[in-house]
Subunit: 125 residues, 2 copies
DNA sequence: CAAGTATTTCAAATTATCTTAAAACATCTT
DNA sequence: AAGATGTTTTAAGATAATTTGAAATACTTG
């Protein structure tokens, strides 16, 4: 990979000090990993799903309880639960009629990151 | 907020031990904050934008350099840069003709979270 | 100020995500 | 087995995000 014809001199110097473009781009995660990171963020990019995640961070819950918390129809809720489930943020166990949902360890980790970041989430839009 | 008519007994006990549904739901971030968190995740839910973020984590860059790294048309690149800029993940300074982009502190924080999580990003889909 | 380079904006076309209501499944109760 | 309850699936339409290419802006240099 070659540098563009004319780029600012100080930037070019920085890049060369780091061993050139190649060695910088080597540090970028693989397309596969970027894809996975993208999908996880996608799963957490919806207010409904975040509300579910934050609730489950405090308390495991059957779907009927989540229905009450969110005021959503079952089918809609189920759609969002599936997205969180498929990406590995939540899991569930059956208990009679009920499906009892809870966060996976990875789900907890993500919500804790959100909480840690919340101080920095001041809107600058 | 009242509990649904029939929920599993052990779940009901857990909820009561935490002071009931109200005190649990009080811990969920406000709709405003959830909205902001959702938008940030949305901004990071695209492979192109993640690639830009990870590159800028290593090295500030003008748009023409990012164009080379990503092999995108300027207009498309500019669209994605705007999304990252608007949410406060990246910033830029003009230097002559060039716009030199770099991560904000918050952007760095987010990418560091991604890196920390990468160990856990094993696909279970 | 005209021409060149770097970057952004715009609107139309495309694609992805979300919502809705109806139907299907699973488990429990009688 | 039939009815009730809890949950998921499906397919259609509605909404939102992305892509594309052309035109616009901004700065620089001769």
């Amino acid at each position: 990979m070659v540098l563009p014809d004319n780029i600012p001199a100080d930037m070019e110097r920085e890049i060369n000090e780091k061993g050139g473009l190649e060695s910088i781009t080597l540090k970028i995660p693989s397309r596969e990993l970027l894809n996975r990171i993208a999908k996880i963020h996608q799963a957490l990019s919806d207010v409904i799903r975040l509300k579910i995640m934050f609730f489950l961070y405090e308390q495991r819950a059957c779907v009927c309880l989540l229905r009450q918390i969110t005021s959503l129809a079952y089918s809609k809720l189920s759609y969002h639960l599936k997205i969180l489930r498929d990406i590995g943020l939540i899991t569930y166990e059956k208990s009679g009629n009920y499906a009892i949902y809870s966060l996976t360890d990875f789900g907890k980790f993500c919500i804790e990151n959100c909480i840690a970041a919340s101080g920095d989430y001041r809107g600058e839009e």
